[in-house]
């Protein structure tokens, strides 16, 4: 039972403090910092379902976030839908699309799969850049009236923030729930040895397609919420390859396959980035330092922070999920 897991309660406590801290004194700058951390955690922990749980490296994970943003913004602005309904619709639509993509590209393994995911990202970006209803290369802007049903822009942005924190909590609970389930055990078997997993009775094709689709859902919802907050979207910010890579770096940093690792990695990376970007001397070297850090992690702590803790204290394996 998930309720008996300490990690479950930890997720709730962290999420509650994400809501409480900026709310105290209406601290908008803190809220804007935390929203980036929350989105990083959402992206990293859903990416973890593919990379850490199933062993399939997805370089194009950001495509789900961007598509979710587009569908969400289109539905709220052009169609005048309610934000929550638009975000959920974006999630369902993108998941369905991922299922279709997945049934195609999940026949590939290893590096070939990774390359195909870059292909999906590029293809979707190229499509959107030529898609008239979504404003081609210039993208779309949110009409200010979309904030009205929520009692004005200020209030709408706070509500949007709570929704994103909610999605963050759901992402972590989803990761934990899958990790301790039979479905998760099947995924881990696929990660360790796909052929052996099939011979042991795991329906590998089905499992991979489901997890690829599931890993698309919450990032798409988060994309819809995030671009609603930003008020604009274009194909370059929506499908930024760099952001996809950074998701992988976060996982490597924190420890792939671990719920805590994905969250910690996302938090640490986001913190490091904001520190570097705002530091006058280092801001130009942000990516150089991130790259160097990745190199050090891969060479000296291939399991990331959590893997390192597991090695130091083997008994922690059963405690830290």
């Amino acid at each position: 039972m998930i309720l008996r897991r300490p990690s479950f309660w930890l997720i709730l406590i962290v999420s509650a403090s994400f809501i409480y801290l900026p709310l105290r004194g209406q601290n908008v700058p803190l809220r804007e910092d935390l929203i980036l951390v929350a989105v990083a955690i959402i992206l990293a922990s859903n990416l973890n379902l593919m990379i850490g749980y199933t062993g399939y490296v997805n370089f194009g994970h950001i495509v789900f976030y961007g598509l979710g943003g587009y569908i969400g913004l289109y539905l709220t602005t052009v169609r005048g839908w309610n934000l929550v309904l638009a975000a959920l619709t974006a999630g369902v639509a993108v998941s369905f699309l991922a299922l279709l993509f997945g049934l195609g590209i999940l026949r590939l393994r290893g590096a070939y799969f990774a390359l195909a995911t870059i292909g999906v990202l590029q293809a979707v970006q190229a499509f959107v850049m030529n898609f008239d209803p979504w404003g081609r290369s210039t993208g779309m802007y949110l009409s200010f009236t979309s904030y009205q049903p929520w009692g004005g822009a200020t209030r709408a942005l706070w509500i949007d923030y709570y929704l994103i924190i909610g999605i963050m909590a759901l992402s972590l609970i989803l990761s934990l729930g899958i990790k301790i389930s039979k479905f998760g055990l099947g995924l881990f078997a696929i990660r360790e040895n796909e052929d052996a997993a099939a011979v042991l009775g795991v329906n590998t094709t089905l499992f991979k397609a489901i997890i690829y689709s599931v890993s698309a859902f919450l990032p798409a919802v988060a994309g819809a919420l995030m671009f609603f907050k930003n008020g604009m979207i274009d194909p370059f910010v929506a499908f930024e390859f760099m952001l996809s890579l950074e998701g992988i770096v976060m996982l490597m940093l924190g420890g792939q396959g671990s719920v805590t690792g994905a969250a910690l990695g996302a938090g640490m990376y986001e913190w490091l980035r904001s520190f570097l970007l705002t530091s006058p001397k280092l801001s130009d070297f942000q990516l150089v330092i991130a790259g160097g850090l990745l190199l050090v992690v891969v060479l000296f702590a291939p399991g990331g922070l959590i893997g390192w803790v597991y090695r130091l204290v083997p008994r922690s394996r059963g405690v830290i999920e």
Binding site: L185, F188, E192, G201
Partner: protein, 251 residues
Amino acid sequence: MTPLLEVRGVSKRFGGLLAVSNVSFNLNRGEILGLIGPNGAGKTTLFNVVNGVYGQIEEGSISFDGHDITGISPHKVVHLGLARTHQIVQPLNDMSVLDNVTVGACFGREYLSLSAARAVARQVLEQVGMESRASLVARSLTIAGKKRLEVARALAANPKLLLLDEVLAGLNPTEIAQMIELVRSIRDRGVSVFMIEHLMQAVMNLSDRIVVLSFGQKLAEGPPEKVARDPLVIEAYLGDPNIAERLMEKN
């Protein structure tokens, strides 16, 4: 009673190489059937054909326990009750021994829930004498341990038929004796066994019947003493006309 496994005229081709050519045989319920033959005879290929690793095959049909299993995928074959081990061990390296066996129980014939599968996995580990190593990571096991783990994982699926691919290779004499005992105890619990083995003494003593393959074709089939005296088998594989007497001596 109908045979548990019926293989009819099966052929498998890799490009220009006919790895298995028109092979037919039956495996009866409750029996241990040995499969022997020189290296490259197509023994493992035949296993892979039977449990569906290759998907569709060129010719022939396979039926198991009343179901036609020709060309169906490996996971469905397991659900029907046919499990196997690998010649080259394939542990789920980064998972514990218990989790490895739990996977077998979870996705096996009964498709158990996680908690029920854990319980079955503990029982099976006890049966194969690995209960003290349950929490170790699979990669840390010795070769003998990994072979045992292969058997445990397959057993956890609660199969009607177990395919054992050279479980004795690479083991020392003590380990071999333990493994032979294990195979006997598996059969005594009502599981039929189909085993590839190079260790002649073991296979002659364990098997009720033996099938001999050479260059993809079935050379002989029958009780161990008959097969060991078959001139064709002696020429293709055993080499020594007096080998039968020595092999049949109980140790």
